[in-house]
Assembly symmetry: C2
């Protein structure tokens, strides 16, 4: 087994790689929807298989480090954060697949309107994923707090997507099926943002020892 | 600090308690919807605050056990499983709150139809939660597998709820808003079942050392 410090570095770099795949999946999932591109959808499915493999590997590595190295204080907190972040990233891969499934079911019909807010949500989410992992690697509390703020912006965008789609569906029942598919896309993006927020909260706990979970007032 | 074995027992009993609250929340959330009962909704919000407190406490306890006791093999696996189950239960509390939010927004209008499949989904989900935690406490692989099977049944129910609601919405645009709210209720129940399934998979890994995540074929 490598030296403990090297193992921690490896754990860190694997999580970064995994988050890169998740980011890529988010981007491609919305691209597959907006541009009706089945190849992008395929890549997301391919990414997911890889993300699942990485989750098991990272989980094993983290558990092994806990077992063999009996780490103390900071390292221990780092490893338990890694276990949670790993879990979040894996679920994020699934959410991108959910988006792709909606994209595939809309592949052969024209969209009721050009997509504007949904690609915007996807951009925000990608940036949140990148920042939350950067914050983890650099132990940067400021960056982590930045992610919490972005989450509110994504929630707002999601709300306006819902409102717009519902008004379409109420005016024209033929848009119901597509409208619901698009709402679920927005909902999955919102949940992706929630997972990035979970990661940022884990980073804040890791860096500052402050538990910001369930304390909405600290997120203002 | 109590003896290590006692601490593990305590960890186990706190998780059981927490899952009891989650089960109660699922039950009351759908009751608040079906019977337009705002008091049930309040209880779910109250439960969630308690669940959030328990999550932090259990997380602290588990991390402390990892740090101070340097547990080996089985105990280590038990504690990392506890950390994950804790995380799942907390999110399940949030999902019950999501249902309650939908219930509250439908509180002052008649439902388009009597609810049948949604309460049925809630019953299944409650039973999955109970079984997955029982499986954890008793290290019972058979019971854990039983949860994986129930998940497919819940997915099917969810699919039929969607189909029915979409046909209502297409026939009568005035039902769009309510239909979407009810779809999100079904979706939240489906996600609750997914979390119970995650717990059951963690139990199987704990008991058998077999990683059933991402291996759909083992779930047949």
């Amino acid at each position: 087994m490598r030296h403990f410090v090297e193992e921690l570095d490896y754990l860190r770099s694997r999580l970064l790689e995994m988050s890169g795949l998740v980011e890529d999946s988010v981007h491609r999932s919305v691209l597959s929807l907006a541009e009706k591109d089945a190849q992008q959808a395929q890549r997301v499915l391919h990414n997911e298989a890889e993300i699942n493999r990485m989750e098991i590997e990272i989980d094993d590595l983290a558990t092994r480090l806990l077992a063999l190295q009996q780490p103390m204080a900071t390292d221990l907190r780092f490893i338990t954060a890694a276990i949670k972040i790993n879990n979040d990233l894996e679920r994020m891969g699934d959410l991108a697949v959910n988006i792709v499934e909606r994209a595939l079911s809309l592949m052969h019909e024209p969209l009721m309107k050009p997509l504007i807010d949904i690609p915007l949500m996807a951009d925000r989410v990608q940036s949140m994923i990148r920042k939350s992992l950067d914050a983890f690697v650099k132990k940067d509390a400021e960056l982590a707090r930045n992610v919490l703020v972005s989450d509110d912006a994504v929630d707002e965008l999601c709300g306006s997507v819902y409102t717009e789609l519902i008004s379409y569906m109420e005016r024209d029942p033929k848009t119901v099926r597509q409208g619901i598919n698009l709402m679920f896309v927005a909902r999955n993006l919102e949940r992706l943002a929630d997972h990035a927020t979970n990661i940022a909260e884990d980073v804040l706990f890791l860096v500052q020892g402050v538990d910001v979970r369930h304390h909405a007032e600290t997120r203002e």
